[in-house]
């Protein structure tokens, strides 16, 4: 099996995608790994808001800026400008509609110009062809731990696919890769 850390701190100067129920958690962990500020683009009509108190388990909420936009068009405009500028190394974009080929490519070019990373939070089957990697993230139930997640890389332009079980260590703010539930010693019953 390939190593998560070949592809996980997301490759710079590219735009990536994450889908599934754990996509926000994936974005939060990515933000925790980012060196400085993060711009989180949020469409105002969405009922779900980011909770900074919950985010503080992953990274310092002081480094997160939220851009409230009305439409996806505005979101893409803001994202492109920020990616190209390079002052903010990570841009998280919540998307509600699939990206067109042009839009996806423009984001990639902007990220390349600014040497920044973009992460689109999408729903399933909304992926864009231009994405560098696409991750499917889902929380997994585990009897001992309540931060276990399954991260599956389902598209990778420069590497192999794979699936990993990861755990976020709140105290040390560290990501641990663990073996899948069923294959862990002493957890035969839990997998049942």
């Amino acid at each position: 099996m390939s190593d998560l850390f070949d592809s996980f701190p997301l490759r710079k100067a590219r735009v990536h995608e994450a889908c599934g129920a754990g996509a926000s958690g994936f974005a939060a962990i990515t933000a925790a790994r980012a060196a400085s500020d993060v711009l989180w683009i949020h469409e105002t009509w969405r009922p779900e808001v980011l909770n900074p108190v919950g985010l503080s388990a992953f990274c310092d909420p002081a480094k997160v800026l939220v851009a409230q936009v009305k439409t996806q068009l505005e979101a893409l405009g803001v994202a492109e400008e920020t990616l190209r500028d390079g002052a903010i190394p990570l841009v998280v974009i919540e998307l509600s509609q699939p990206l067109t080929l042009t839009a996806g490519r423009r984001l990639q070019l902007a990220a390349k110009d600014g040497d920044t990373t973009g992460l689109c939070l999408i729903s399933e089957e909304m992926g864009s062809n231009a994405a560098e990697t696409r991750w499917r993230c889902a929380p997994v139930f585990d009897a001992q731990d309540s931060t276990l997640m399954a991260w599956e890389i389902i598209k990778n332009k420069a590497g192999t696919l794979g699936v990993w079980h990861v755990r976020w260590d709140r105290a040390s703010r560290r990501l641990d890769v663990v073996s899948p539930v069923g294959e862990r010693p002493g957890s035969a019953r839990a997998s049942g």
Binding site: L50, V53, A87, F141, S146
Partner: protein, 481 residues
């Protein structure tokens, strides 16, 4: 120059009223007349009278609350207007101006012509004013309040002699005492022996007398013009290309920034007005994420706004004004680079021109147990990151408005449906009781206490459920990462 009815004139200019009119001000728990118009004065009303008395005298009196601050602003406006006569204009009390017209009168064709011009201008503006013109400040004050007109240069006594002693800017007690001694006019006061007067009243009356007669000097303090950060440029030929407009804007910006630099200020909001040949004006507003006075950094931010302007037949006048200015002291350059902060602020300003500066926000911690009030969302341009984030118990990463689910009893349901998903509770941690903040009105918390549970489902989703024991029901309010 004295404005005896400044306050009521100001209000009547905006809302003309026929008949007696008065402004009232609450003093010592009683509404008293603060200022009144000529008609009301003729009916026997006077300042300081209580409003109920005035109404008894004059049932059709119209009144309005007074606004002394607005009056002061109006006086400053008049001060600015008065600089058309001479450059040295100061305020005199709360309803007068003092002008030093030395060397300026001949520009209006002499002192008498200047006075008539002032009267004409004031009458046209609907402000009643009384003007005294004399060699000294004291004499001019006396003439403006008690009698009108102009004292011949070099002989103040001729004009002042007949005026009452009250014209000497003395307090009321002194005036009454002088009158009791039989000294009613300035001429009589002048004729009295000085030593007994000084013993009886102190130096004050004689000082004022000397000031009025020019034996003691007295200064005028002209107010400084407030700094103005607006410049404009008129072009001989209309322009229409975006590059040309930007070049013009660059020139204007340079001048504005020089002024800002001289005042150690930085612009927070700028407005570029472009007037077209057909008199149509379009403006480009720019709000900055932090005060700036560096033309090289501000200019690129205008590009987006200027690109949207319709040039039509061409633009022939440009005006740039810093509409909001904040102090920005000169700072020592440091070898430790602060470049990234500046870059971030520039980016925020640029995004602000796209989606509005207040839509770029940051989180600030707030002191509340209520999950949705545990943080403040503040515009990033007007706040700095501060405070520390403490969460004693795990909190969800995503919050949403409570979504009801089927369930009963104080423990989380074993099976439930949420967002068309069938979920099975595998582990529930809780309850954590949060009581509403009764001191704040909040419709969402009408249902009373909430018992929060961290529910981990066998399907993986980790949800934040709550139960309202006072009005039984189960809701989902958030999702953990």
């Amino acid at each position: 120059m004295w404005f005896p009815r400044l306050a009521s004139d100001r209000v009547l200019r905006a809302h003309p009223v026929d008949g007696p009119f008065a402004l009232t001000l609450k003093q010592n728990n009683a509404n008293r007349i603060y200022c009144l118009n000529a008609q009301a004065e003729r009916l026997g009303l006077h300042r300081g009278m209580s409003v109920s008395d005035a109404r008894a005298f004059c049932p059709d009196l119209q009144s309005r609350p007074a606004e002394p601050r607005g009056d002061m602003r109006f006086l400053h406006v008049l001060r600015r207007w008065a600089t058309r006569y001479c450059p040295w204009v100061g305020l005199e009390g709360d309803s007068g101006l003092v002008l030093d017209i030395t060397g300026a009168a001949h520009l209006f064709g002499g002192e008498a012509m200047m006075l008539s011009d002032m009267r004409q201008q004031l009458a046209r503006g609907g402000v009643s004013g009384r003007i005294g013109l004399a060699d000294t400040r004291g004499a001019a004050w006396a003439l403006a309040r008690h009698g009108e007109g102009l004292a011949a240069p070099g002989a103040p006594m001729a004009a002042l002699g007949a005026l009452p002693v009250a014209a000497l800017r003395l307090d009321e007690g002194t005036v009454t005492a002088l009158q009791r001694l039989g000294l009613r006019s300035i001429a009589e006061l002048e004729a009295t022996a000085r030593a007994p007067l000084a013993r009886r009243f102190g130096p004050e009356p004689l000082l004022r007398l000397d000031q009025a007669l020019g034996r003691q000097p007295e200064q005028i303090t002209p107010l400084a013009e407030p700094p103005h950060y607006g410049v404009r440029m008129t072009l001989p030929e209309p322009i229409g290309l975006q590059g040309d407009v930007m070049a013009g804007a660059a020139r204007l910006l340079e001048r504005v920034c020089d002024r800002l630099k001289a005042q150690e200020a930085g612009a927070r909001a700028l407005c570029l007005t472009l007037r077209r040949v057909d008199q149509e004006a379009q403006s480009v507003e720019l709000r900055l994420a932090r005060p700036l006075r560096d033309p090289a950094r501000i200019l690129p931010l205008f590009e987006r706004g200027v690109g949207k302007v319709e040039a039509g037949y061409g633009i022939d006048q440009m005006r740039l004004e810093a509409t909001r200015v904040e102090p920005l002291p000169v700072q020592q350059l440091s070898h430790v680079s602060t470049d990234s902060r500046a870059r971030l602020d520039d980016l925020v300003s640029r995004l602000g021109t796209r989606i509005g500066l207040e839509n770029i926000r940051r989180f600030l911690p707030a002191d509340s147990h209520i999950p949705e009030r545990g943080f403040i969302v503040a515009p990033a341009a007007y706040s700095r990151p501060e405070g520390s984030w403490v969460s004693l118990r795990p909190r969800p990463l995503r919050l949403f408005a409570p979504e009801p689910i089927a369930g009963s009893g104080p423990r989380p349901p074993q099976h439930f449906r949420w967002r068309r998903m069938r979920l099975v509770t595998a582990r529930a941690t809780g309850p954590e009781r949060i009581a509403p903040e009764w001191w704040l009105e909040d419709d969402n918390w009408r249902s009373g206490l909430r018992d929060y549970w961290h529910v981990e489902t066998r399907q993986g989703r980790r949800l934040w459920l709550f139960h309202t024991p006072q009005r039984p029901g189960w809701f989902v309010q958030g999702e953990f990462a």
